[in-house]
């Protein structure tokens, strides 16, 4: 394997451009390590190790945005008091990522580009209307996170592009919830994940492990906007069926995922929405 060590962001972009699509940028390398023993083909790839690019690390506040850097880690977010106050779901989700060792190494940008349908970080970013900032030698591009994924592990990032920032608008929220259903209380991969927010911009309901990508649930969001009466979890099932398409896999079943998504939504929102059985 070849590991390239860029001295600057510009270096990194040049390396990616020169590799003509064959170089993989890595930061914490936590996702790479999971499959390392089994995927021998990974051992022959070229990696661009971004971990030395200190400039990409800090998170910043502007008047109307929180900006996570390309190397901002889960731990950076967990220990930031302001994030805890203004974007509590980021902290809640970060604490659910692997073990503390992983939280220290793993990055939000890495979580986005790894594109796991079971990601913990992506749902809360999407529920906060995050925008992904991509940079390459050809310039800068912005893609709203809820339009970033185009299919399973497919996304609107060219191989020569780096995620250099993730921008979240600062808004008052009246509802903020993150629920991760795993097979144990820590260090588990989500079987059902939900991030829910409500701001002046409207409801956001984002589901994980329910489709080939993390995705918003427009039918449910509409149902919430319209204040439709919901008398029990089963009333949510038709909307869920339109929004997501869970599968049976090694971790759970489609039936469980659908039913539990309905029950968690119902239970979490019952009070906020004034639902009565």
């Amino acid at each position: 394997m070849t590991v390239l060590l860029p001295g600057s962001e510009r270096d990194a972009l040049e390396m990616l451009a020169a590799a003509d699509g064959d170089a993989v940028p890595i930061a914490g390398a936590t996702d790479l390590l999971v499959s390392w023993p089994g995927r021998l083909e990974d051992h022959r790839k070229t990696y661009v190790d971004l971990s030395g690019l200190a400039g990409l690390r800090p998170l910043r506040w502007t008047g109307d945005e929180l900006v996570l850097g390309g190397l901002t880690s889960y731990w950076d977010v967990i220990r930031d008091v302001r994030v805890r106050q203004e974007f509590p779901l980021l902290v809640a989700a970060a604490r659910q990522v692997g073990a503390i060792q992983i939280q220290v190494r793993g990055t939000w940008a890495g979580n986005i580009v790894n594109a796991s349908p079971a990601a913990d970080g992506v749902p809360v970013l999407m529920a906060y209307d995050a925008v992904v900032e991509l940079e390459s030698l050809r310039g800068r591009e912005e893609v709203p996170l809820d339009r970033f994924y185009t299919g399973y592990k497919e996304m609107r990032r060219r191989p020569d592009q780096l995620v250099v920032a993730i921008r979240l608008p600062r808004r008052p929220y009246s509802v903020q919830k993150f629920v991760k259903v795993g097979s144990r209380r820590a260090q588990a991969i989500a079987k059902v994940g939900l991030a829910i927010t409500r701001a002046a911009a409207g409801w956001r309901v984002v589901a994980a492990s329910m489709a080939p990508t993390i995705r918003r649930c427009p039918t449910i969001e509409r149902l919430l906007e319209e204040g439709a009466p919901v008398r029990g979890p089963d009333d949510l099932l038709p909307a869920i069926a339109r929004d997501v398409s869970p599968i049976d896999d090694i971790r759970s079943t489609a039936a469980y995922r659908k039913r539990v998504m309905a029950r968690v939504l119902y239970y979490e929102l019952r009070e906020a929405c004034g639902w009565r059985a």
Binding site: P37, L40, R185, S252, Y266
Partner: protein
């Protein structure tokens, strides 16, 4: 006393097999069968590997019989033209680079003409699936007491139920590993194992070498739980075959994925109960059928079945009992020894069934157990008269008291009335575990222990029993030190090296402290008698006597010796499965409290009390650790540890997809011991190692049943499984 090897382990200085320095060696790896059953028509070596740089071993390289000798001889060391399970070893490769070896293993194609496999042990096999005997039954055993049919016909109430348990992975921290090399003409095999003499016997047999040309040495072992009882013989043979052919040392260390996929698991089980009772809950008849999945080779399944059926009727008095057990052949990776050894499976069924009975008869589950628990003078299913003086009802009472059982039941009822999406409940299990080998097993083992007096006045304890985290080194030191009046540092424990230590039997079956510990005491006494001093000579005066003896007997060895003797009054009829199955039983009641989330169907264990009578507790810290570890392992088996199989092989063979409890998934575990010394165990100890895995699963599921009204009959009770059997309406909290 502190754990002897504790500091080395804490500081990372302990050297496990993979840490040992080894010069000029090859890595070894295994090419395995891709299919569950069939004839091997070709083994193709890919064109893009330079095979001249590899040592290649197949079944034709085996000097002796191609058999991993254990109870039967049905399992080949390497498949010879026919495979019976996915991951069955076919070819071994040796190479300098581990990375190169990984690629090479993938470049070998084992071509198999598939034949119909049998993959469900509960379904009778079709004729074209028969592969063992006439009916694929690996072993059949039966216990009969009284007249079950008549008692059932006359019983006022009969309650039936079937119960199932899944496979379980050991998840020892250290994966399987072995190194082998030739030292002059002696083959030396070193590695992670529970039973050095089992490995020795397997090597002697398949390599056709006598004892003088093989030596097996146990290395510090990072957990075993039974997973290193029989499997190390396979990997030792593989390393040895490669080393013999290569003429160089060979090291095989499995990574986690290979270890989980290719090595043994706990036997899956199916148990049917048909129980006759009086209306107030007195047991009149117990009719049981116990079926285990053995996998593709016999390995230890007959004795797992034996222990399973002996424990199946529970710690209760019943005059009419019939237990019919069988282990079925399937084309699955062979199931094997795992802490509890069949008893956790049958005790799960028994104790869950007790709660099913209680619900059916509308009586209190505590009362049901209280009236049926064995009293001294009553007999077990095999007709063993229990008269150890232990008050089994007092064990139950203590668990109820420590768990605040009655108050909790009332509090839970109130909680459940007022909470929409959570349910709380409490459940218990009363159980027992026989220590040591079953029936005549210990006599057959004929274990021997030596205690040598050294020239400097210290002693060395020589046994083949090993430390795997459970505390053998520490407890053996305590036993010898106490017997001789020595300080712990004046007792050395010999490395388990078959070239030096006698065969004191395997480190299994909760026998180490009770049986081997007692032999150490007797060997200490024998040492004294060789010195011609009496029991009053202890400590400094005994050390002086040893030093004096050596001065008077230059170049001679001073060795105390002890060989197992069956405790008086014990008898066992193996043909009819009647008599004293074990010298001693440990008795226990465990109580679990749970909270079930009705939105996600997930169960959290919120409280746990473990009360047991285990004879004398020799080292409270270690004993407590054994119980806590067993409870955690049992909670995992009860709720989340699920082996997912395809074609008889585990496919979730990663720790990301086979989940064991984290510290956040287990509650504080309240451990209490009641002591009633056993006269034939070291200092009065009975076996403890396996007991704690027997109780958690039924206690937890009984608690879930109490909390939710559901009727779970199988473990693991994953949220998906609970959803399948219970539709919880979400009540709104108004």
């Amino acid at each position: 006393m502190h754990r002897r090897e504790g500091l080395a382990k804490l500081t990372g200085r302990e050297r496990y097999v993979d840490d040992l320095p080894l010069d000029d060696f090859l890595w070894g790896m295994t090419v395995r069968s891709p299919v569950p059953r069939g004839r091997v028509t070709a083994v193709r070596f890919g064109a893009d590997v330079d095979w001249s740089a590899f040592v290649i071993v197949d079944h034709r390289d085996i000097p002796g019989p191609n058999e991993v000798i254990l109870i039967e001889r049905d399992q080949p060391v390497l498949a010879a033209g026919y495979v019976r399970h996915v991951h069955e070893p076919v070819v071994l490769l040796g190479h300098r680079s581990r990375e190169g070896l990984r690629r090479a293993v993938r470049a070998v194609e084992v071509v198999v003409a598939p034949e119909p496999p049998v993959l469900d042990f509960r379904v009778p096999p079709r004729p074209d699936q028969i592969q063992y005997g006439r009916d694929n039954v690996l072993k059949r055993l039966k216990i009969e007491k009284g007249d079950v049919e008549r008692a059932l016909a006359q019983a006022p109430v009969v309650v039936s139920g079937t119960y199932e348990t899944g496979a379980q992975e050991h998840v020892y921290l250290e994966t399987q590993g072995m190194i082998a090399w030739l030292e002059d003409q002696v083959l030396v095999v070193k590695g992670s194992m529970q039973c050095p003499y089992y490995v020795l016997s397997a090597l002697k047999h398949a390599l056709a070498r006598d004892e003088s040309r093989v030596r097996v040495i146990q290395t510090p072992t990072g957990g075993g739980f039974g997973g290193k009882e029989e499997y190390p013989s396979d990997i030792a043979l593989h390393a040895a075959l490669l080393a013999l052919k290569a003429g160089r040392p060979v090291k095989i260390v499995y990574d986690r994925g290979e270890d989980m996929a290719a090595t043994t698991k706990r036997h899956p089980s199916w148990v049917r109960h048909r129980t006759g009772l009086t209306r107030d809950g007195r047991l009149l008849a117990q009719d049981l059928e116990v079926v285990l999945d053995g996998g593709a080779y016999v390995t230890l399944s007959p004795v797992v079945l034996s222990r399973g059926i002996i424990h199946a009727a529970g710690p209760y008095s019943c005059d009419n009992v019939r237990i019919a057990g069988r282990v079925m052949f399937t084309n699955a990776v062979p199931f094997g020894a795992f802490r509890g050894f069949g008893a956790p499976q049958t005790l799960f069924a028994c104790e869950r069934h007790m709660d099913v009975i209680a619900r059916t008869l509308e009586i209190d589950p505590v009362e049901l157990r209280r009236i049926n628990l064995l009293r001294d003078g009553q007999t077990t299913a095999t007709g063993q008269v229990i008269r150890d003086g232990t008050d089994r009802v007092a064990v139950l009472e203590r668990a109820l008291e420590l768990s605040d059982y009655r108050a909790k039941r009332r509090a839970h009822a109130a909680f459940n009335e007022t909470h929409a999406a959570q349910r709380r409940g409490i459940g218990l299990a009363a159980f027992y575990h026989g220590a040591g080998f079953t029936g005549g097993g210990e006599v057959h083992l004929n274990s021997r222990v030596r205690v040598a007096g050294l020239a400097d006045g210290r002693v060395e304890v020589l046994t083949a029993n090993i430390e795997m985290g459970q505390g053998t080194l520490t407890v053996f030191t305590q036993i010898a030190a106490e017997r001789l009046g020595f300080a712990p540092q004046d007792v050395a424990i010999a490395e388990a090296d078959t070239g030096r230590v006698p065969n004191s039997g395997p480190t299994v079956a909760s026998r180490t402290t009770m049986v081997v510990g007692r032999l150490i005491e007797r060997a200490c006494d024998d040492l004294r008698s060789r010195l011609e001093v009496d029991a009053a000579v202890r400590g400094a005066s005994l050390r002086a006597a040893i030093v004096r003896w050596h001065r008077e007997h230059a170049a001679e060895r001073l060795v105390g010796d002890a060989v197992y003797e069956r405790p008086p009054g014990i008898s066992w009829d193996d043909a009819n499965y009647r008599g004293d199955a074990y010298g001693a039983f440990a008795w226990a009641t465990y109580v679990a409290e749970v909270e079930v989330d009705l939105a996600t169907y997930s169960t959290r264990v919120t409280g746990f009390v473990a009360v047991q009578e285990v004879g004398k507790v020799l080292n409270e810290t270690l004993a407590r650790g054994q119980v806590q570890g067993g409870v955690v392992q049992g909670i995992g088996w009860a709720l989340m540890e699920e082996c997912k199989f395809r074609d008889g092989a585990m496919i979730n063979n990663q720790l990301t997809n086979y989940l064991i409890p984290t510290s956040d998934d287990v509650p504080p575990i309240h451990v209490a011991f009641l002591e009633n010394p056993y006269p034939h165990g070291a200092q009065g100890a009975k076996g403890l190692g396996e007991l704690p895995i027997d109780g958690p699963a039924p206690a937890v599921l009984n608690a879930v049943a109490a909390a939710t009204g559901a009727d779970p009959r199988a473990v693991p009770l994953t949220p998906e499984r609970l959803m399948a059997i219970a539709d919880f309406g979400l009540r709104s909290a108004e």
